[in-house]
Amino acid sequence: MHDLAFDIAHLLTGSLVLVSFMLLYQGRMFSLLNVFALHAFVLSLSVAWQALVQGAPHLYVTAALALVFKAIVIPVALHRIVRRLGIHQTLEIVAGIGPTMLAGMGLVALSIVVMLPVTVGVDTLAREDLAFALSVVLLGLLMMVTRRNAVSQVIGFMSLENGLVLAATGAKGMPLVVEISIAFSILIAFIVIGIFLFRIRERFDTVDVHALDRFRGERL
């Protein structure tokens, strides 16, 4: 069971979780974008490896999509948007770095505790893949919660989505993976284009709770 293919798959998915942690503590916009590009790059490597190991050539499409679209196009586009709209370069993390990292570790532990016992019947590779994928999803959620800024929320969502792609490729022979990853890419593309077209600049700069109350039109 513990052959080289298994170890490499393990290494790649493990690195994805690690990069998710790196995303959590980035305090600068451009470094956040770069780390996200790395996240997508590791994902595409991992998916490509799965494609090779499972002998499923259609997964190469997903891997290529992750590489071209999420590791190159989106970060470059976001770079440009950030520069063009003059968005703040420093990011605040609501709860502080320390507690956020601790919470992240708790989530990883949680997903292992949840996932491993219920997947006894599944083969080991898919099983640990799923546990890691759930960690990446939860870390993405954590990032969306701890960031107030729209670009970092989008990054958080995209890292969450990378976790889902990881889970989908880990499930052996799952159909429609390519279609699903395309659907997700369209979703993200729309959002990024939407950010740019609508130029919701205020949204990037200040979103504190009081501003939200005003927008809700219920504070008289």
């Binding site: 949840v114 996932m115 016992p117 219920v118 997947t119 006894v120 019947g121 599944v122 898919a126 799923l130 994928a133 759930l134 999803v137 959620l141 969306m144 729209a150 929320q153 969502f157 969450l160 989505e161 889902l164 889970a167 989908a168 499930a171 052996k172 022979g173 799952m174 159909p175 429609l176 279609e179 699903i180 659907a183 997700f184 369209i186 979703l187 729309f190 959002i191 939407g194 609508f198 919701i200 205020e202 949204r203 939200l212 927008f215 809700r216 039109g217 219920e218 008289l220």
Partner: protein
Amino acid sequence: MTPLSFDAVMAVLAIPVVAAGGLALLPGYRIPARLNVVAAFLTFLASSSLFIARPEPGTYFLVDDLNIVFIVLTTFVGFTTSAFSASYIAHELDTGRLTPMYLRFYHAMYQVLMFAMNLALIANNVGLMWVAIELATLTTVLMVGIYRTHEALEAAWKYFILGSVGIALALLGTILFYVAAQPVVGPGLDAMAWTILIEEVAAFDPALLNLAFVFLLLGYGTKVGLAPLHAWLPDAHAEGPTPISAVLSGLLLNVALYAVLRFKMLLAANADALAPGPLMVTMGLSSLIFAAFMLYRRRDIKRMFAYSSIEHMGIITFAFGMGGPLANFAGLLHMTMHSLTKSAIFFAVGHIAQVKGTQRLSEIRGLTETHPVLGWGLVLGVMAIAGLPPLGIFMSEFLVVSSTFAREPLLAIPLVAGLLVGFGALLLRLNGIAFGEPHGGTGPAQASYVPMFTHLALALVAGVYLPPPLVTWFLHVAALLG
């Protein structure tokens, strides 16, 4: 598979796609608005023909007794809403809230939304259904933000973030379901097809199914608008164009609920998996009670009816969670009645907000004096939605309550309390809106009242007399739901 029935399924999907393409190209608003109505009507006809000639389930598409109810309801409300939209949108263009360019986009998106909802309902594949619901989310996000005011963008953003997280969790649940199915069914499309899953589900690993269902319930539950995942819903309803509020409340919430129901049926068919009922009962009940109290604090008319939608989705989820023939029957009936009534209310509210020039409850007063038809239409609609006899919702709520009393008397107490609290809030607000000293604009409404009164008449007829074939049909579906 007969050629005719195959065509009907294709037509339900293809007409909206073709119409969306055409509407994206056509300039002006009169012709596109009519074309939108015609396309929606044709889709409705095509879906009705599914009653007569039912196609065999295929690899990708499936029409069975359960989803045909949803499909016909969706296409019908889609059709009437498009008729309402035609009279609503002219005013938006006059006041400059929408430019012709955005209007083109709006009409095209309306048809894409119809396509996505029909696809989600008709899909025989959990992955395809997920893609369709994602598409529906995406189009509604774009439409909610179409006015491009700060509030609208804020609402669209919130909807996008929460909706995407919900959709993402649902996908994780779907993947886990596949992982559970794969050892038994084998890899490939079969392990995602309803028709095959429902036969084989008894042999799946129950622990994995449980985990998958929790994610699916949370994920699709976000789209249903169940508390505590409902936060996007009031904003999205309040800030988007009113036809979209009507479609969101009347249809899209149902589509998400349909997804939950399908998975509930799967879980129920596995003896060792956790019973999905109590989870749904809890979420439904908490949505109902939460929304009922929140109704008192609303100052915006569309937001108020959005909370009322949360309340009713709570009741429906509760009923389906209770299970059993009677509660399921009540849930189905309530869902149908809620779709008809709530969209009728939004039709009225859309025109009211236009003539009054505001959505603030404090500035809308004495409607029955200034605009008798709209005012009384709203009164009738709110009476229906609050659950007064002899309208349809009274009957379905009565059935929900009586079946709960018969089986779980303790649960009936919070249920009835929630219903009464919501009832009080609606009547209190209605009193202010419809009666009293007139306030706000008194200009004539350029409204078409036909869609609104058609829906209300249907709700009234259903409350008084349900045709026996319909009852038999619903009872049959209720038995299927388990």
